[in-house]
């Protein structure tokens, strides 16, 4: 029997969505006892549970041949992968937000932004020709405008309730963030047949 394909999945909410979706395709796995390496019932996959932002590193080094993560994570990594599949679930938006009622942003002058996503922010505004000063934070970015660290934030927004609770509002939806199945390029080239078969199986209807 062929060696199982290796797949890195991000811990957290996206993991639950992937687990449920895979089950509908007959690929069943569960995580017990805080295990970080699990196999599916039929042993076609060896799954590694990793921190979301570390996922590209594991795939880049070929430790996991495949991975599932959002564009936000990929944008922060400088690594190159094959993007094999895009899912309709788990999608969200990267938004520019500021204090509710704040004046519209003049995107022709320098922008100061606090964010967990400095690479995405730099690339996005550079593409638009807007100079941007970035304050890198690791979490609770909504605090930045409230406490005066930076007037604006760039962050993932799903419902907007956290923004609202902190007196902030979306100023502009910058880009859609999609969930992708990625592959280490060399791993794909050596196991393309099995990977293509898996991709056909885990494709949405």
């Amino acid at each position: 029997m062929a060696e199982p394909l290796t797949l890195a999945l991000p811990k957290g909410r996206l993991f639950d969505q992937i687990q449920d979706f895979f089950a509908t395709k007959g690929i069943v796995f569960s995580v017990e006892d805080r295990k970080l390496v699990v196999s599916d019932r039929d042993d076609i996959l060896r799954i590694f549970l990793v921190k979301n932002s570390d996922l590209p590193t594991y795939v880049n080094h070929g430790i996991a041949g495949l991975g599932i993560c959002g564009d936000d994570v990929l944008a922060e990594s400088e690594c190159q992968f094959f993007r094999l599949l895009t899912y309709s679930f788990g999608n969200t938006s990267m938004c520019l937000a500021g204090k509710e009622g704040s004046r519209p942003v003049a995107l022709d002058s320098k922008l100061t932004v606090a964010t967990k996503f400095p690479e995405f922010t730099r690339r996005h505004f550079n593409k638009r020709g807007v100079p941007v000063e970035i304050v890198k934070l690791n979490g609770s970015v909504e605090l930045a405008p409230v406490l005066g660290l930076a007037p604006y934030i760039v962050d993932l927004v799903e419902t907007g309730s956290t923004l609202k609770a902190n007196g902030l509002a979306v100023i502009e939806r910058l880009e859609d963030i999609k969930v992708r199945v990625i592959a280490n390029r060399a791993y794909y080239k050596l196991r393309y047949r099995e990977i293509n078969a898996l991709i056909d199986r885990i494709r949405e209807e």
Partner: protein, 362 residues
Amino acid sequence: MSEKRRLQIPQGTEAFFQEEAKRHRRYTTQLEELFQLWGYLPVKTPAFDFYDSYRPLIDSGMEGRIYRLIDRDGELLMLRSDITLFLAKQIATSLRAEDLPLRVFYSDTILRYQHREDISRNEFFQVGLELIGKPGIDGDAEALILLDKGLSAFGREDYRIHVGSRALVRRIFPENLMQAAAGALCEREFESLSALLLEAGYESDRRKRIVEFLSFIGPIEEFVELLRRMEAQASLPSEAYGECAYLCELIGLLSRLGMEKRFLVDLSESGMQGYYTGIAFQAYLAGADSAVASGGRYDGLLDHFGFSAPSVGFSILQRKIEAFLPDIAPNLRQPERVKGADFADAYRKAEELRRAGTPATI
């Protein structure tokens, strides 16, 4: 000296010692002997050269990774980041038409920046060859066979050589979209590729069939089968079939020589570097996180430096493969430690051993 300077070396450099260095040298020698058996001669390129000589040939990806410096006359220099480029200039400026075909090989370090997440990529040492002045299938087959033999010298059999064609991409896309198409194809970004086909004027059904065709990886028999279907539906521009027939002929030849298991047709191997004009290929080894060798045909590269001759060649990223090889130390002869009444006595005893071929230390 700061801790950083004492404990680290700059990104893009590497040092290795003892057993690791011994093993490295052994494989280097093995590859050099192989190339010499096929009539290749060694060549050395300068460690740095004038940046402007290469500027038009450096793509944006490489641009950000090369180290530049300024010499005492204010000339901008670049460190050797791609041996093929440096070699092309050296050869073009010293070669005469009567010297062709020329066969040269190299084994040298390259210096370029690597991101901290890429530091295990081990791209610092390349051993490779160039066959200049031999166009077409004879030249391409020789390069591919030598790559196969070179890789098998490492004692691993689980590598595969994926062969594609930049010439085929050129037949499908107009010149202004060619570089973008080759880039998207290498990245297997089929949505972008489809958008480029739309820009090139292909209608919807045909776009779909061409994208499916270009995504092909597989053995030659499957490629022939797919090609038949494409021909029956007239899916490709007519000029493209000649390039496909050439790929079939080339891989067919390698198959007849008993190498069919290790060569696959992979149309997404279209050559990342802009200077490729014909076949393009990469080799993959189980466990390695990226390609362990790459090469192709670049018939216009020497023209850029004022000499016209077709060329084909490849580089093996030797350090990348060595990371997966067993320690060869047990097979290496350890020097005998010689003791004597004094240095002169030990020297004489050690010399006797050395004359008999036994390594000895005093």
